[in-house]
């Protein structure tokens, strides 16, 4: 009985550790792959500030093709979205048309000290086609800012980049 408890807890700890993923000194998505054309809960993890300075704002550029974006409000942070017209409008899947989409999500006015971590959440609908989507992030701090906007070019991998944009792999749609 005792052994079982120990195993269970140790197993839980281990699972927790690997579920969070490898060396996350970068701003990353918690889940890094999702089926195309699905609703996706994007959880952006901010593991540290800008060279020791506390994070005060996080701005996310929504990649083209990602629609129906709804960010989750956070206590202590102001939340705003920047919208743009969709040309041409796209189907909303329920017989209507979507003419406007969120281009940028901004959490601001907060204070996330360098010693703590936090996540920023939004839901969205992923496009039907594509391989990789990038969610470039501008992290603003009390002193300075960090742009997580680099994307790999041919022959480069994410680990070659200093400040990679959070990446999401699109899997074949379930349908």
């Amino acid at each position: 009985m005792k052994n079982l408890m120990i195993k269970r807890w140790a197993g839980f700890g281990f699972l927790l550790a690997i579920s969070v993923g490898p060396a996350a000194a970068h701003v990353l998505l918690e889940t890094r792959q999702a089926p195309a054309a699905s609703y996706f809960k994007a959880v952006l993890q901010v593991p540290h500030g800008c060279a020791g300075s506390a994070t005060t704002a996080l701005r996310v550029r929504i990649p083209a093709g990602v629609i129906s974006v709804k960010p989750q409000p956070k206590p202590g942070w102001k939340l705003a979205v920047v919208k743009e017209k969709l040309n041409p409008p796209v189907d909303n899947g329920h017989g209507g048309k979507i003419t406007e989409t969120v281009r940028e999500v901004i959490w601001s006015g907060g204070n996330l000290p360098d010693d703590f971590f936090d996540s920023f959440v939004m839901i969205s609908r992923l496009p039907e086609q594509g391989e990789v989507l990038y969610f470039p992030v501008v992290q603003e701090c009390q002193k300075g800012l960090t742009r997580w906007i680099e994307t790999p070019v041919a022959g480069q991998s994410l680990s070659d980049l200093k400040h990679p944009a959070p990446e999401l792999k699109l899997l074949p749609s379930g349908r």
Binding site: K2, M5, I6, W9, A10, F12, G13, F14, L16, A17, I18, V20, G21, P22, A23, A24, A25, Q45, P47, H48, G49, A51, G52, R59, R61, E104, D114, F116, F117, P136, V138, R147, I149, E150, V153, A165
Partner: protein, 542 residues
């Protein structure tokens, strides 16, 4: 108090779990550099005794090297760590510039690296022997080919359009029927059209730095056509064809000639400046077309048509009195806008070429004045040999005009604002130039002057997909010596004017090949990187 074993185990496993989670999820920030000694970019009177770097947290060194002009590491002791600092002694450094390359591992075992430079003593004294890898100064064959194509295009197009204008403005009003006009127009305009089309491929080859065989690949042509050069050359070639097609119809032919000249102003420096400068460039080009394009027809008429020559000369002379001032005023205004006059005239390659062009224009003006004030009146008085004299001066004008157009073509392929090189001097310092096109259509032109060891300046010209000057949020240069595998030096470029960025006095102490990356922050979330291989040649000791 007895703590149950199960509780201990649970707490321990939770602690381990949390620790793993913390390591994986919330990793520490990387070490950041607070201060270096000597300061980055500083110019010291005498050699420093040591190199010192201070970080915001404990680090362990991976690499610390101080390169001199010969690519030798000048540290005399192993780097020592004390607290958050890293230091190492250097030997008495002779005058010259030095490159410090560093890499450290911070507490989260994440490697961090960078570079900085400093100079010692009088760096104007060349301090390099033959010790280093000799490097060839890279002059792009594509650049040469483009300049030659542009020169031929200017000569043929101006002659075709100039002949058409001459026929419309002077020939027809005086009822001169000359059978050679259509032949001249067809020959020149067809050649102009062919060269204009070929230029698109040459431009693509230059942008992609392709081998010559690239001219056979559609990709290369597509790249060339994708810049402002593509539509411009389409207009030039199309209008030239139409000129050839309408060679027997005076007014349409002249109109297509004007259109072809306008096409030239849709690309190059004219297209990257403000609209008024583009219009002035067009007026300047049109005036030049009228003036220079008239020389050959004048020569033919003076030679062949004794009955009309005096009337033709007088009519041309009268019109030139209006056109020539317009030509010069527009030319000066555009030059004034592109350069810091008069200082740049001597200080930049563009300025030096412009000075040459102005000298040629001055000679032309002098010859024209002789024709107007001396030779034509002599012809009117019926003086013997006046016609022969006239033929000689017009012939001379033709030669000077052709030279001037070749200089103008070279100017068009020279960035206006690259400081400080002398042409024709024994030790030619042309600097280095490169051009790249990003997948999104952003064109970047980079000039490094003098691309020799020591202090260099970087000049970046950016052109958007629409062919206009593009000013991003920021432009940063990243430099590292390829052969020595140094860490990377980052420097921001400063905005000079829209689409133009400059980095003054960056020290490149070691000769050889360098990796040079220009990072353009297009908007808050998008950056584009342009990679160049730069050859820095050693400055020979005297």
């Amino acid at each position: 108090m007895i703590i149950p074993a199960a509780a201990v185990a649970r707490l321990a496993s939770m602690a381990i779990g949390l620790m793993l989670w913390a390591m994986a999820g919330t990793a520490w920030p990387h070490a950041s550099l607070l201060r270096v000694e000597p300061a980055d970019g500083v110019h010291l009177a005498t050699s420093p005794a040591q190199i010192r770097l201070d970080f915001d947290e404990a680090i362990s060194p991976v690499e610390l090297r101080v390169f001199d002009a010969h690519g030798r590491n000048r540290l005399v002791a192993l780097p020592a760590v004390s607290g958050n600092g890293l230091s190492a002694a250097v030997a008495g450094l002779e005058p010259g510039s030095y490159w410090v390359s560093w890499r450290v591992v911070s507490a989260d075992s994440h490697p961090v690296g960078g570079a900085f430079t400093f100079a010692v003593g009088d760096t104007t004294v060349p301090n390099i022997g033959a010790a280093l890898i000799p490097t060839q100064l890279q002059t792009s064959a594509w650049d040469m080919a483009l300049t030659m194509a542009r020169a031929i295009l200017y000569l043929t197009l101006l002659q075709a359009a100039g002949a058409a204008l001459f026929r419309a403005l002077i020939g027809q009003p005086l009822r001169i029927e000359a059978l050679w006009f259509p032949r001249l127009i067809v020959g020149c305009s067809m050649l102009a059209a062919a060269i204009a089309m070929l230029s698109v491929g040459l431009k693509g080859g230059q942008l992609l730095a392709a081998p010559w065989a690239g001219l056979l690949q559609p990709d290369v042509w597509a790249k060339g056509a994708g810049t402002s050069f593509g539509p411009a050359m389409a207009v030039v070639a199309g209008a030239s064809f139409l000129m050839a097609a309408t060679r027997h119809r005076v007014l349409p032919c002249a109109a297509f000639g004007i259109m072809a000249v306008a096409g030239l102003c849709l690309t190059g420096h004219a297209a990257s400046g403000p609209r008024w400068a583009q219009i002035l460039t067009f007026v300047h080009g049109l005036a030049a077309t009228f003036w220079l394009g008239a020389l050959y027809p004048l020569l033919r008429i003076v030679q062949l048509d004794g009955a009309h020559r005096l009337a033709v000369l007088q009519r041309f002379s009268g019109m030139a009195m209006v056109v020539t001032p317009v030509l010069f005023v527009c030319g000066f205004a555009v030059a004034w806008h592109r350069m810091d006059l008069p200082g740049d005239l001597a200080a930049t390659l563009y300025g030096q070429l412009l000075t040459l062009k102005l000298s040629a224009a001055g000679i032309l003006l002098g010859l024209a004045a002789i024709n107007r004030m001396l030779v034509t009146p002599a012809l009117a008085r019926g003086q013997p040999l006046a016609a022969e004299k006239l033929l000689r001066t017009i012939g001379l004008e033709l030669i000077v005009a052709a030279t001037l157009l070749v200089i103008a073509a070279t100017l068009a392929n020279t960035p206006p604002k690259v400081p400080g090189v002398s042409i024709g001097a024994a030790s030619q310092e042309n600097g280095w130039q490169g051009e790249r096109l990003s997948p999104s259509g952003l064109a970047l032109r980079l000039a490094v002057t003098p691309a020799a060891t020591g202090a260099n300046s970087l000049e970046v010209d950016l052109q958007g997909r629409d062919g206009h000057a593009f000013s991003p949020i920021s432009v940063t240069a990243e430099l590292r010596h390829t052969g020595l595998g140094t860490a990377t030096l980052q420097r921001p470029l400063t905005l000079v004017k829209p689409g133009q960025y400059r980095l003054k006095k960056v020290q490149l102490p070691m000769a050889g090949s360098w990796d040079l990356r220009i990072v353009v922050l297009v908007d808050e979330f998008v950056q584009e990187a342009f990679d160049f291989g730069l050859a820095v040649r050693p400055v020979q000791s005297e």
